[in-house]
């Protein structure tokens, strides 16, 4: 498994590089890459999570071994709750996971096991996974290296975009062409790292209570 532990110092340098590149590739691209550099408040996550996850997060990072131990703990918990978990495999942007099924004698029992397994996630992996995905964000350099390939993929599904496109360009395009949200899915699946958004940067969560 490839690991990309985030080095904030490198990101600061990357910001300077991105600033220079902005002259070439456009201001929007620079803004997008800089957005990837926002820092996730891991101390705050550690303060508000379960004891198991807090212990892992106490040093401000998640090692590959710690991440794997959290996935294993989640799987064991799901199994202990009475579900049948599948094998652990790699998917998405360097993540590990498994699917699982629940078989129950009736609806009440099914819902009880569901609730227990869903609690397993919150107890063992949810916050560790958030930090892990943050650590696995591509650096500005990695994004720039991948950008032409992603652009080619996007053009192959009918999206008119050039090699130096920024995420903001794509966001604007998708917002103006609703059908593009489905069209770009093959590219999102092929380049999950490129489309993995910094959780520290996410500000547009919608109102969950909105009807």
């Amino acid at each position: 498994m490839k690991h990309r532990l985030m080095n904030l110092g490198a990101y600061v340098k990357g910001a300077c590089v991105a600033g220079v590149l902005a002259v070439v590739v456009g201001i929007a691209g620079c803004a997008s890459d800089e957005a990837q550099q926002k820092t996730l408040n891991i101390a705050s996550i550690a303060k508000n999570t379960t004891a198991f996850q807090a212990e892992i997060l106490q040093d401000g990072k998640v090692t590959p071994a710690e991440y794997e131990s959290a996935v294993l703990a989640y799987r064991t918990c799901v199994q202990d709750a009475g579900a049948e978990p599948g094998e652990i495999s790699e998917f998405g942007n360097n993540e590990l996971g498994f699917t699982y099924t629940i078989t129950a004698a009736g609806e009440t029992q099914r819902k009880a096991i569901e609730a227990e397994t869903e609690q397993c996630l919150k107890d063992n992996l949810e916050d560790i996974g958030k930090v892990w995905s943050y650590q696995n964000l591509l650096s500005p350099k990695e994004l720039d290296r991948q950008r032409p390939e992603v652009a080619a993929c996007l053009r192959s599904v009918g999206i008119d975009i050039n090699d130096s496109f920024s995420i903001d360009d794509l966001r604007k395009y998708v917002s103006e062409h609703e059908e593009a949200t489905d069209d770009i899915k093959p590219c999102v699946e092929k380049y999950p790292g490129f489309f993995s958004i910094n959780p520290a940067e996410v500000q547009d969560h919608h109102d969950e209570s909105t009807g």
Binding site: T101, E114, E178, K185, F195, H206, S209
Partner: protein, 156 residues
């Protein structure tokens, strides 16, 4: 808040035609008018959708199988009013009743990262379901299972 619509279901792996009905329901006391489910035209594999959370949120179910044997269920979730919207921490599940009356739920992978566009999660069953019963689906992101539970009625 339920609705049904008769649809013709044709399995791509065989020419055997089976009939299913699409049912859709919302759940939770917080449901408002915008969550009224609208049965959609079904595709060959048994499809349904239900309005979900705000900003045009919508959860879809696509049952893949033959007759009353369900191989897997693709569950999708997105927001038509905001095509580019970050979804962090994602999972889907689907559930139904087998011929012997047992309940079964299948979960997709848990994805920890954030993605900017609508997402899908495959839930594998590989089981027979009770003819005439519904298979339901739900999507999770950003800390909550979303209202709007689409369903497809399985027929032998």
């Amino acid at each position: 808040m339920t609705g049904t619509q008769g649809v013709q279901m044709k399995n791509s792996a065989s020419t055997k035609k089976i009939v299913t009905r699409v049912a859709a329901t919302g759940s939770g006391l917080a449901l408002c008018a915008a969550l009224v489910t609208i049965p959609q035209a079904a595709n060959a594999n048994g499809y349904g959708e239900a309005w979900s959370d705000g900003l045009g949120g919508r959860t879809t179910i696509n049952v893949i199988g033959s007759s009353n044997y369900v191989e897997w269920v693709d569950v999708g979730h997105g927001h038509s009013a905001e095509p580019w919207l970050n979804y962090c921490g994602r999972q889907t599940k689907s559930w139904g009743i087998s011929p012997d009356g047992m309940n079964q739920t299948a979960y997709s992978y848990w994805a920890s990262d954030c993605t900017p566009v609508s997402f899908f999660g495959a839930t594998g069953h590989y089981k027979y379901f009770m003819s005439g019963s519904n298979v339901w689906a739900q999507a999770y992101h950003d800390g909550a299972w979303r209202s709007g539970v689409p369903g497809v009625t399985i027929w032998r």
